[in-house]
């Protein structure tokens, strides 16, 4: 994001992270191919939904794109180079289950800002602004671990967004949440998209994909089944497992 105050920081953000691209990614465990030669790139603002049944390899693909696990085959690049720690704050990641540090909500966000190299004097104000954007400012001094599940996930998203990321990768971030909490997450995701972020959203919730996605990528059995604009996808995916998934039939 061009108006990101971090851009002024020496060197750290001079090169961006977009596009995040995986080429021919493969990952096997115990002789089984869990992700099989998948190529995927997210580079433009908008929400890409990564759809598929359980075990399709969605989370593994997302974690490879985030640079958290190394593929057995193929390569991931951020803006043409291998992922590196200095650009981690440009790629926000939110997990299936939020990992909260044992400190206050505010300090959780401050921790992320510190890791991103934000000067100490700016951290508090920026953290408060980030909390406010998620409606969490009244809970700033509450220990993060006593927040409800929905609040924790919102805090995890706010923490990931606080550093002004170019990309947000969400791994089933609303899977455990009630509808109101999920809506709060979705609202934040759309806010990030409107701010120019490229969002990759792993979900098996079709209605959520319909609500949010501009583009749908469908995985099945570790392979890429479809990669279409959302309209085209929901009007009717070509055939095979992707269509079956959309139509609610059981996919084996």
């Amino acid at each position: 994001m061009p108006d990101d105050p971090l851009a002024a920081d020496a060197g750290r953000t001079r090169t961006g992270a977009l596009p995040i691209a995986g080429r021919d990614l493969s990952l096997g465990r115990d002789g089984r191919m869990l992700v099989d030669r998948v190529s995927l790139a997210v580079g433009t603002p908008g929400v890409t939904a990564l759809l598929g049944p359980n075990g399709a390899g969605k989370s593994l693909l997302l974690r490879m794109m985030a640079g958290l696990i190394a593929p057995d085959g193929g390569a991931v690049t951020w803006a043409g180079r291998s992922p590196d720690r200095a650009r981690a704050h440009l790629v926000g990641v939110v997990f299936h289950r939020p990992v909260m540090l044992r400190r206050s909500a505010l300090d959780n966000v401050r921790f992320a800002l510190k890791a991103a190299g934000v000067p100490r004097s700016e951290r508090r104000d920026r953290a408060m602004a980030a909390l406010a954007s998620g409606g969490l400012d009244p809970l700033a001094s509450t220990p993060a671990r006593v927040l409800s599940g929905g609040e924790q996930q919102r805090l995890a998203l706010v923490r990931a967004m606080a550093t002004g990321p170019e990309a947000l990768l969400l791994d089933e971030a609303t899977a455990h949440l009630d509808p109101a909490s999920a809506l709060a997450i979705e609202t934040l995701v759309l806010k990030a998209r409107d701010g120019g972020a490229a969002v990759l959203l792993v979900t098996h919730d079709l209605t959520q994909a319909r609500r949010l996605a501009d583009r749908v990528v469908c995985l099945h059995g570790g392979g890429l089944e479809a990669d279409l604009a959302a309209d085209a996808f929901f009007r009717g995916p070509p055939a095979g497992p992707a269509r079956a998934f959309v139509e609610g039939r059981l996919v084996a």
Binding site: R63, A66, R85, V99, R102, A115, P143, A144, R145, R159
Partner: protein
């Protein structure tokens, strides 16, 4: 066997009289063992956390070694430190043998493996939950070690208590490097050993009861601290 009632009587008499010698012995015991635990924490906590987080060849062997050294016999630790500090030893020039400092070193040698091994286990469990999140935030290995030590602070208090319990209760190491010199290096355990060998069993038992009370009090205090921190800092 003298009667237990006599021992309790002696213990209360010692405490009630605020016996100068007893106070001196208790304070030296606490000073030596607390210093040893502080030293062990300074080395053992980062070491344990680093081994928990790092991946290097020989990692399993170093974990096995740390675990094995948890059971290091105090007399062996004392002997090793004695050899180092004796006049002819490599550190003989410092003249530390038969000083409280020597006792601190010996107990630190004893306690550091306990702190390191238990911290390693605690931090490794925590690391499993935190690893991907910390890396996603751009935290490197050194940062992860520092973060995890802070995140595990409540469990690590218990680890340090285990180390303190080991230090305050051992006699073998302090008697070898300290020499049980009256008013200089006499601590509770060496005093108990001496009184027992002199046949002053009431006094020995009295000292033993005081030692037990101190250990219990410190554990209770740490338990309270842990509880109140847990209440205020996290669920």
């Amino acid at each position: 066997m003298q009667d237990l009632g006599g021992a309790f009587g002696e213990a209360f008499r010692l405490i009630g009289a605020f016996d100068g010698d007893l106070v001196e012995i208790v304070l030296l015991s606490l000073r030596v063992s607390l210093s040893a635990v502080a030293l062990a924490a300074l080395v053992g906590l980062p070491l344990g956390a680093a081994v928990a987080v790092a991946r290097f060849p020989g990692r399993m062997a170093s974990i096995a070694a740390m675990n094995a050294f948890m059971g290091l016999p105090p007399v062996v630790a004392g002997l090793a430190v004695y050899l180092l500090l004796s006049r002819a030893g490599p550190l003989g020039d410092f003249g530390l043998l038969y000083t409280p400092e020597a006792m601190v070193i010996a107990q630190a040698v004893l306690v550091t493996p306990i702190v390191a091994a238990l911290a390693r286990q605690t931090i490794e469990d925590l690391h499993g939950d935190y690893d991907e999140q910390l890396r996603a935030l751009g935290i490197g290995r050194t940062g992860a070690v520092a973060t995890l030590l802070w995140e595990a602070r409540l469990s690590l208090v218990t680890v340090l208590l285990a180390g303190f319990g080991r230090a305050i209760a051992e006699v073998g190491a302090v008697i070898i490097v300290g020499g049980n010199i009256n008013h200089v290096t006499r601590v509770m355990t060496t005093a108990i050993a001496l009184e027992t060998s002199k046949g002053a069993l009431n006094l020995a038992l009295g000292l033993g009861i005081v030692l037990l009370a101190i250990v219990l009090a410190i554990n209770a205090l740490a338990g309270l601290l842990r509880h109140s921190v847990a209440e205020s800092a996290h669920a």
